[in-house]
């Protein structure tokens, strides 16, 4: 049995720094590719999961992506309001099991305060709160799973989206001011894997009240949640609707795709976004593959130079009776081993990289990302190993036929 391994290992150990550099180059190139594909998949899965419970969104006419970013991902910004009469009509729909207004305007410690209804909080939390109970009074709040607030804590909401502080000069942004109201935390939602995990949800009536809007109930009423009095409803940025059936979902979507409103399934909008991202991913994949190919070619050139130094060694082996095939196998194994070890190390590196990026992304946005190694990453690594094995034949074929004598004299 031909066994080039002892010799391959000895050759690898002759220039340890070079060997480790070669392996590291392959690992970094493969790691970047693995991180890109697994991160992209995690982003898709995470955002889809975050939108799971947002069956149908009805918003003012305009960009559906904008409306989805507001309602599902709580990216507040300029707000087009849905007209009060449309809001009243949706609340009156018999096939809408839950109608949840989403109202912004305040924040606490950088966390958005969202006005909505108790039924939606329970629904988002999976039918049951993790702790405590839904809000039943204007000055009560339910927090997301990741909120630092505890049940029983009280706080003053601040007007504004809370991002003004990040610009460093809160003083000059005079529109951020505290409302003179104490809110007590009474419940905590189960994790949703969405930005809602960092949010504070209060009765929409409070949001309206703080901004001097009608509260949907008769003057002076402290009621929380539906039913609302139609002519006391203000406009809202968006309504999240849970229809009672698939048919109702399509029916409602058709009805509210009209002159003064737009209606959409967030899942649908996400699919359109993914299609766009898909093109980006194609581009990134091509770039990653180009990088990997360049790295392998560069390493190949380096190895060719390095192997020239080993010519005497290979000539001696031939003189000692080694067949050409043994020399071929030794050089081939040497190159293939560097690429294979680098590719497997790259898989680990990519996993670590994707995990780190995912964790940072989750911490910043609240969208739960779980980057995993899937079939496409395994395929990538196997493809790199296969390419490595194929290109390894080049130096092997070039060097194994070199005349023995020249190097010995």
């Amino acid at each position: 049995m031909m066994n080039p391994l002892p010799l391959v290992i000895a050759t690898l150990r002759r220039n340890p720094v070079t060997t480790i550099t070669f392996i590291a180059l392959v690992a970094v190139a493969v790691g970047l590719g693995v991180a890109i594909t697994s991160q992209e998949r995690a982003l898709k899965r995470g955002s889809a999961h975050a939108a799971d419970r947002f069956d149908l969104v009805i918003a003012a006419p305009g960009s559906q992506t904008d409306a989805m970013l507001k309602a599902v991902f709580l990216r507040t910004g300029s707000v087009e309001l849905l007209k009060p009469e449309v809001v009243a009509r949706v609340f009156a729909e018999p096939h809408a099991e839950i109608v949840a207004p989403i109202a912004f305007g305040d924040s606490h410690d950088g966390a958005p305060i969202v006005g909505s209804v108790p039924g939606f909080v329970t629904y988002l939390s999976g039918g049951k709160l993790a702790e405590g109970r839904p809000f039943a009074d204007h000055e009560e709040a339910v927090v997301g799973a990741a909120s630092p607030l505890k049940i029983g804590d009280t706080f003053h909401p601040t007007h504004g989206d809370g991002h003004a502080e990040l610009e460093g000069d809160g003083e000059e942004h005079g529109h951020d001011h505290e409302h003179g109201v104490d809110i007590t935390v009474v419940g905590r939602m189960a994790p949703t894997g969405s930005p809602w995990d960092m949010a504070i949800v209060v009765p929409v009536e409070l949001t309206w009240e703080l901004h001097n809007l009608p509260t949907g109930h008769p003057q002076g009423s402290e009621q929380v949640g539906p039913p609302y009095v139609s002519d006391r409803l203000p406009g809202v940025p968006a309504l999240v609707v849970k229809p009672d059936s698939v048919a109702a979902a399509y029916g409602l979507r058709n009805i509210y795709r009209a002159q003064d409103s737009t209606a959409f399934f967030p899942a649908e909008v996400l699919v359109e976004l993914y299609a766009l991202l898909g093109d980006m991913r194609q581009l990134m994949n091509v770039m990653a593959l180009a990088t990997q190919t360049l790295v392998i070619v560069a390493i190949l050139v380096g190895i060719m130079v390095l192997l020239r130094l080993y010519r005497v060694q290979f000539s001696v082996l031939r003189a000692l009776g080694a067949p050409r095939s043994f020399i071929f196998l030794t050089i081939w194994s040497y190159v293939a081993l560097i690429v294979a070890v680098g590719a497997v190390a790259g898989l680990g590196l990519g996993m670590g990289l994707a995990g780190t990026i995912s964790a940072a992304f989750t911490a910043q946005t609240g969208i739960a990302l779980d980057a995993t190694i899937g079939a496409s990453e395994i395929w990538l690594v196997m493809a790199i190993i296969a390419i490595g094995m194929a290109v390894a034949t080049v130096p092997a074929a070039l060097l194994y036929r070199k005349p023995v004598i020249d190097a010995l004299r």
């Binding site: 049995m1 031909m2 066994n3 080039p4 391994l5 002892p6 010799l7 290992i9 000895a10 050759t11 150990r13 002759r14 005497v312 060694q313 001696v316 082996l317 031939r318 003189a319 000692l320 009776g321 080694a322 067949p323 050409r324 095939s325 043994f326 023995v404 004598i405 010995l408 004299r409």
Partner: protein, 233 residues
């Protein structure tokens, strides 16, 4: 055991003109003799040595071993023949520095077609012991130069070949180490009955030769050894 018939080795120079480095009408080399080849550089000494071990195909003529023209063999069979028949020793030892002395000696057992690797490993260790090479070193590079050349001799002897060919085996060694190596080469021919052919200018080695071959511009002049020894019939 080796017979050379009308051997011609020629190259083409840079201008494409052929020039002859070696021309030997006839040469017989038998067992139980220490043959030393001398001559100025470029006289064809190394070419003769590599032609004998099957690494340098002659332009004309034949190199026969026990009647077999070795260049009529396929390359794979010639590799195998070389491994079994010829042990090579080099001026610069050419050990694999990262491997242990024993791993260097048994390296050729990984070339394929070796049946009993265990027995050869035992033989390799015994050879190193006989030659006085410490076997506890992890790397051959930790050995002294003399020890490295003796490791190379053990490597050449692993398959118990009937012929040992050495290219300046003592040129990189000091006098003490040279004497050890020269005595060993002499013993390999006289006590173990091998053909030992060495290209050398070392008086220590020349003084032990049974036969001196002097090459001058590719032509052979056989000279009497300085100290003639008794050669058993």
């Amino acid at each position: 055991m080796f017979t050379i018939e009308n051997l011609v080795l020629s190259y083409r120079d840079d201008g494409g003109k052929p020039f002859t480095v070696l021309e030997l009408p006839a040469l017989q080399l038998g067992r139980e003799s220490l043959v030393v080849v001398t001559g100025p550089s470029g006289s064809g000494k190394s070419s003769l040595l590599y032609a004998l071990c099957g690494l340098l195909k002659p332009t004309a003529g034949a190199v026969r071993h026990e009647g077999q023209d070795i260049y009529a063999l396929s390359e794979a069979r010639r590799d195998r023949w070389r491994r079994e028949t010829v042990g090579l020793i080099f001026q610069d030892f050419h050990l694999i520095p990262e491997l242990s002395p024993l791993a260097n000696v048994t390296l050729a057992t990984h070339f394929g077609g070796t049946a009993d690797r265990r027995a050869l490993a035992l033989r390799g260790r015994a050879l190193l012991d006989v030659l006085g090479v410490p076997t506890d070193r992890r790397h051959a590079s930790a050995l002294s130069r003399g020890e490295q050349q003796r490791t190379a001799i053990a490597r050449a002897l692993l398959f118990d070949p009937p012929a040992i060919l050495a290219d300046e085996p003592t040129a990189s060694l000091d006098a003490e180490a040279s004497t050890l190596v020269a005595d060993r080469l002499l013993s390999l021919s006289r006590d173990e009955g091998r053909l030992v052919l060495a290209v050398s200018h070392d008086p220590i080695l020349i003084s032990r030769a049974d036969r001196l071959l002097h090459l001058e511009r590719g032509h052979l002049k056989e000279t009497e050894p300085t100290m003639r020894k008794e050669i058993p019939a």
